[in-house]
């Protein structure tokens, strides 16, 4: 799809952009958490439409799996909690602050628009260069080539972000969603049907990622969802907590760096991939990364997720204990 060929803008584009802007405004101005979260999720969905419009299906899948999936689930889960009363502030002061913010924001937007209008509509020459280099990368899907070959350092660091976020979250959360002791028939069905289906989907996204949209991150997000569901359905073999889970999470990162070191030994360059085994290497890294990412996302979710039923009484007991021993 081309963007610049029209000098007039497509009506459909204007409508989608307007809808995105409106939901963005709603997501930030609505005072109730529930409604704001719903507006944000709709915003994410509409944004995914735009991703399709600018020819970025990989981003759309990732947005659906991570932005809408993981982040959305986390936000929805946070709604469980009672919204604290916002601190009492004088209405006039709030109005003043909001007005100042709005004016500053408007000025910034105007300045940015001035700057952005100077950008050329000509495509950057980086695109053709990168696409031409894909042939020498071992895989045929350009984005996978960028992520796992040309700019694999970025990918490695990004994995590190997820891994250490999981490590931090696991250390910081004092209670987490406990696995269910008695799953019951319905949860058992989910565990038997949905979990394998998701694992299969993750595998497909992984392999497909070498030649078409998909890849380790999308597959990892789906695998993470499978692990969370398995956890919630009482599948003990798939528990995403404790030292064993941490070990799985760090394995992908360490293996990636080790592979980088092997590249150094073989070719004299960090993270270099010899074309003869680039495809196998990329698929091997991707598999490890998928497992790591999936486990890390599941850990992040379970650490951030709310307590299950029954822990309300825990909180009361703790508060009582704290009150008893001042």
């Amino acid at each position: 799809m081309t963007v610049v060929a029209f000098s007039d803008v497509d009506v459909l584009d204007i409508l989608v952009v307007l809808a995105v802007a409106v939901t963005a405004v709603l997501a930030v101005v609505i005072p109730r958490r529930v409604s704001a979260t719903i507006a944000f999720l709709v915003f994410g969905l509409l944004l995914a439409l735009l991703w399709a419009r600018v020819a970025a299906p990989d981003v759309a899948i990732a947005e659906a799996a991570l932005g809408g999936g993981v982040a959305g689930a986390l936000l929805v889960d946070a709604l469980h909690r009672r919204q604290p009363d916002s601190p009492q502030r004088s209405r006039r002061r709030t109005a003043t602050v909001t007005a100042v913010g709005a004016v500053l924001g408007a000025v910034t937007v105007a300045a940015l628009v001035t700057v952005l209008s100077r950008l050329t509509a000509e495509p950057a020459d980086l695109g053709p260069l990168a696409l031409e280099a894909v042939e020498r990368s071992g895989v045929s899907h350009p984005i996978t080539a960028v992520l796992l070959n040309f700019r694999n350092l970025d990918t490695l660091l990004e994995i590190a972000v997820v891994v250490f976020a999981a490590v931090g979250a696991a250390a910081l959360s004092r209670d987490r969603i406990r696995p269910v002791s008695d799953p019951g028939p319905v949860r058992r069905v989910i565990a038997v049907v949905i979990v394998p289906a998701l694992v299969l989907l993750a595998g497909w996204l992984l392999v497909a990622g070498t030649s078409e949209p998909g890849g380790a991150f999308q597959a990892g997000a789906v695998l993470g969802a499978a692990l969370i569901i398995a956890h919630l359905c009482g599948v003990h073999a798939a528990r995403a907590e404790g030292r064993r889970a941490l070990a799985i999470v760090v394995t992908g990162l360490v293996a990636f760096i080790m592979l980088g070191a092997i590249g150094l030994a073989a070719t004299g360059t960090w993270l270099a991939l010899d074309l003869d085994w680039a495809f196998a290497a990329i698929l091997a890294i991707e598999t490890l990364l998928t497992v790591s990412i999936g486990m890390a996302l599941a850990m992040l979710f379970l650490a951030a997720g709310s307590r299950d039923e029954g822990s309300v009484t825990d909180a009361r007991a703790r508060a009582a204990a704290a009150g008893g021993a001042p």
Binding site: V186, R187, V189, I194, A197, E309, G310
Partner: protein
């Protein structure tokens, strides 16, 4: 061709109608139980109609094994949605009932 198109359009329209009805129910019904009732039944039914419409369309326009594959995927999507929605509704209702029971014992 025309007849196929009409069938497809009718099926799509019916499907969309069910989905809309389910969504309206989700928004307008008073309590969790009736909202779940609206969403879980009407949406899956609507999805079924839409999936059928798409299956007929692909079989009619591009017959062949590829089309059969697409139809199989559509069927899979519908079955998974069926299981997922039913299980979700069941779990949400159960969770609400337990929460109410807990509140009842506390009061």
């Amino acid at each position: 061709m025309v007849i196929v198109d009409i069938v497809v359009i009718v099926l799509l329209a019916v499907g969309v109608m069910f989905v809309v009805a389910g969504t309206v129910g989700l928004l307008r019904f008073p309590d969790l139980a009736s909202r779940l009732h609206a969403v879980s039944k009407a949406d899956v039914l609507g999805l079924g109609f839409i999936a059928t419409a798409l299956a007929i369309h692909i079989l009619a326009t591009e017959p062949g094994w590829a089309a059969v594959g697409v139809v199989a995927k559509l069927a899979l999507i519908w079955i998974l949605a069926l299981i997922g929605t039913a299980a979700n509704a069941h779990l949400m209702a159960g969770s609400r009932r337990r929460a109410e029971a807990e509140r009842g014992t506390e009061a």
